[in-house]
């Protein structure tokens, strides 16, 4: 996650100190990606070293306040005008697990799929409950809108995962039917009652 760019973008609003930056970040994203304040200060130190932010003295309570530099502003502008890199897909444990499940003998792929589908559905129910209990979807408050969009992103990702699992299940079952047909030469594969694939849950 681009903590660096996110903090820079927040500083573009006004100079802030570490705790303030964390609060502003979490207000927009819920507690979806919790930031610890140590991480915030480490990042600020690195940004200062690279000339993207500069110390702006202390406030009345002694907090060290940071402001963005012109170089920092240019970095934020570049971030917003460049698409997130998708050429290297992030490592996906579920995809790897299924790729192995369909090739390693003795794994009940149907059960692997269904267990995951239930778990992802439970998460999707949680997100939806948060949406329902949350603030008005059409709220004009910027932070509320930001949080709603983050939540929607989680909803769409979970939905996509379930759709992909449905697709995997259909493919696995079809493959099992085709294999069974090949193993019985002389029997018409079309029109005959297909045996239930052993890997399917039913």
């Amino acid at each position: 996650m681009s903590v660096k760019q996110a903090l820079l973008a927040l500083l573009e609003q006004e100079p802030m100190y570490g705790y303030q930056l964390r609060a502003e970040f979490e207000q927009r994203t819920g507690a979806t990606w919790p930031l610890n304040v140590g991480q915030v200060y480490t990042t600020l130190t690195r940004l200062e070293r690279d000339g993207l932010v500069a110390g702006a003295g202390s406030d009345d309570e002694g907090h060290v306040v940071y402001r963005i530099t012109d170089t920092g502003r240019a970095e934020v502008a570049t971030w917003f005008t460049t698409p997130v890199n998708r050429t290297q897909p992030p490592r996906d444990e579920l995809a790897i697990k299924l790729a192995l499940a369909v090739t390693v003998p003795g794994v009940d792929v149907g059960t692997v799929i269904q267990q995951q589908r239930s778990a992802t559905m439970a998460a999707l129910q949680d997100y939806t409950r948060l949406k329902r209990s949350g603030r008005a979807p059409a709220s004009s408050d910027g932070a509320d809108l930001a949080w709603t969009l983050v939540l929607d992103s989680l909803v769409f990702a979970a939905e996509a995962e379930i759709r992909w699992l449905d697709h995997c299940e259909a493919r696995v079952r079809r493959a099992a039917v085709e294999r069974a047909a090949q193993q019985r030469p002389g029997t018409p594969s079309e029109g005959a009652a297909a045996p239930r694939p052993s890997g399917a849950t039913s």
Binding site: Q27, M121, A122, R132
Partner: protein, 243 residues
């Protein structure tokens, strides 16, 4: 076994279409409960038996084996007239394609089940207007279906499904023909009706919609293969707590 809160109870329900070699078993030994205040989603690919389950629950079809009980009454033991009355007074149906009568206004569509049940016209129309207000379109009571958007028509259909204090709402892909945001409003409404005490069954193949339910039941080849329950949220913090 039956609790008073169990509005819909299917016990060991099997439904076979056709006979002999061409027989197709749409549902096999399915037991299923929907309680008052609960929305249950039924998910599965086409051919999994989810629509069959809904037509059986609504008394539009009868099981080959097993029983379907609504508010404690076994639908199989009812005479035709009693069953028809039950469908008008206890069970509300919401379809993907709305199924409104084009020649009747919104209020007339909603009042229809009450009038068929013998309610006086005036009383039925008043109840219909109240139901339309509850789904947020009281001002459209005198419009005809073709003068309304898809989302508005589905709101009318929901009003028709709940008018007269019906306690069981059966919805078959109710958001199928609507865009995502309108679909979400419809689910919000269904959810609100269940929170107000109705039992709801939502058949869908969309995970995002099923997620509005308290429980999700997965059907495959006519068999319930899994179920996700509901538990309070603690996976994510409430937004704003960190302010």
């Amino acid at each position: 076994m039956t609790r008073s809160t169990d509005v819909l109870q299917l016990t060991g329900v099997t439904r076979v279409h056709g006979e002999g070699a061409t027989a197709v078993r749409a549902l096999h030994s399915v037991s299923f409960i929907a309680s008052a205040g609960e929305l249950v989603a039924v998910m599965g690919p086409s051919g999994s038996g989810k629509s069959t389950l809904l037509t059986l629950a609504g008394g539009l079809d009868t099981p080959t084996e097993g029983t379907v009980a609504v508010e404690g009454r076994d639908l199989g033991s009812l005479r035709q007239a009693e069953l028809a009355r039950m469908r008008r007074t206890s069970i509300g149906y919401v379809f993907q394609d709305f199924n409104l009568i084009p020649a009747l206004t919104a209020a007339e569509n909603v009042a229809m089940p009450l009038e068929l049940d013998g309610a006086r016209t005036r009383k039925a129309r008043d109840a219909a207007r109240t139901a339309l207000e509850e789904v947020g379109i009281g001002d459209l009571a005198d419009r005809f279906p073709d003068q309304m958007s898809g989302g508005q028509q589905q709101r009318v259909a929901i009003a028709r499904a709940v008018v007269g204090e019906r306690r069981l709402i059966l919805a078959d892909e109710p958001t199928g023909a609507l865009d995502t945001e309108t679909g979400e409003e419809i689910l919000r409404l269904l959810r609100a009706r269940c929170d107000a005490g109705a039992a709801g069954v939502l058949v869908t193949h969309e995970a995002r919609h099923a997620a509005w339910a308290d429980r999700v039941v997965f059907l495959r080849d006519g068999v319930v293969v899994d179920e996700t329950g509901s538990s309070p949220v603690d996976a994510l913090l409430e937004p704003g707590l960190t302010r």
